[in-house]
């Protein structure tokens, strides 16, 4: 099985959404600020439901938020 990992653009999307804070995003998707920080750092892979909620907050498709990449890819 190829070595792949989940990456995301949550931090960038927050920045482009009027510099939304982690706490604000967390409140809107029903998780804590620390969990948003863990998702951004790649330390936690959210459930599918939370992933869809994040995409919904930013009004983008799920694949614009989360990407399934080879570990060597940037």
């Amino acid at each position: 099985m190829a070595d792949r990992r989940l990456s995301n653009t949550v931090r960038t999307l927050r920045f482009h959404s009027g510099e939304m804070t982690q706490a604000e995003l967390g409140e809107r998707i029903g998780v804590t600020r620390q969990t948003v920080a863990a998702i951004e750092q790649g330390k936690y892979s959210p459930t599918l439901e939370t992933a869809f909620r994040i995409a919904d907050v930013f009004g983008v498709a799920l694949e614009e938020v989360f990407q399934w990449q080879s570990s060597g890819a940037s």
Binding site: V31, Q34, T35, A38, G42, P46, T47, T50
Partner: protein, 142 residues
């Protein structure tokens, strides 16, 4: 640091201090109840009560310092990490109890069996809390 991570640190720290004191100092001083089994209740019981009091006081202080976080319900990551900790701690408990309940009765006196059972419970809980801490620190992709 997440509120529940702070609670896990507090639990682990108070456990290591309290039960470290029992198994390293108080237990040996009372011969681990070798003479009178009731000594185990007094020595271990007092240590467990002291740890519980320290936990309650510490948890109240942490909750006051981070009132909003303390009132928030556990989110999906908290629940996932808690499940992982409980699951790994459970396996440690089962293995330890098989040793204590099935193997030790053939070769050990009652006071040793009781203390070994207490040690297994302490170790299983320490593994439970340590797993939670590691999962918060290093990440969890459950």
């Amino acid at each position: 640091m997440a509120f529940r991570e702070k609670i896990a640190w507090l639990t682990l720290a108070t456990m290591l201090i309290a039960y470290g004191a029992y198994f390293a100092v108080i237990g040996p001083a009372a011969d681990f109840g070798q003479g009178r089994m009731v000594d185990i209740i007094w020595s271990f019981g007092l240590v467990a009560a002291a740890q519980a009091v320290a936990m309650i006081v510490g948890a109240v202080v942490l909750a006051v310092l981070a009132r909003r976080e303390a009132q928030a319900p556990a989110d999906e990551r908290d629940r996932s990490i808690a499940r992982r900790g409980a699951s790994i701690g459970y396996y440690v408990l089962i293995c330890g109890m098989i040793l204590v309940g099935v193997v030790m009765p053939f070769s050990s006196p009652p006071w040793k069996i009781v203390n070994a059972a207490l040690a297994v419970i302490v170790v299983a809980e320490a593994v439970h809390q340590a797993t939670i801490l590691l999962s918060y620190r290093r990440g969890w992709h459950g």
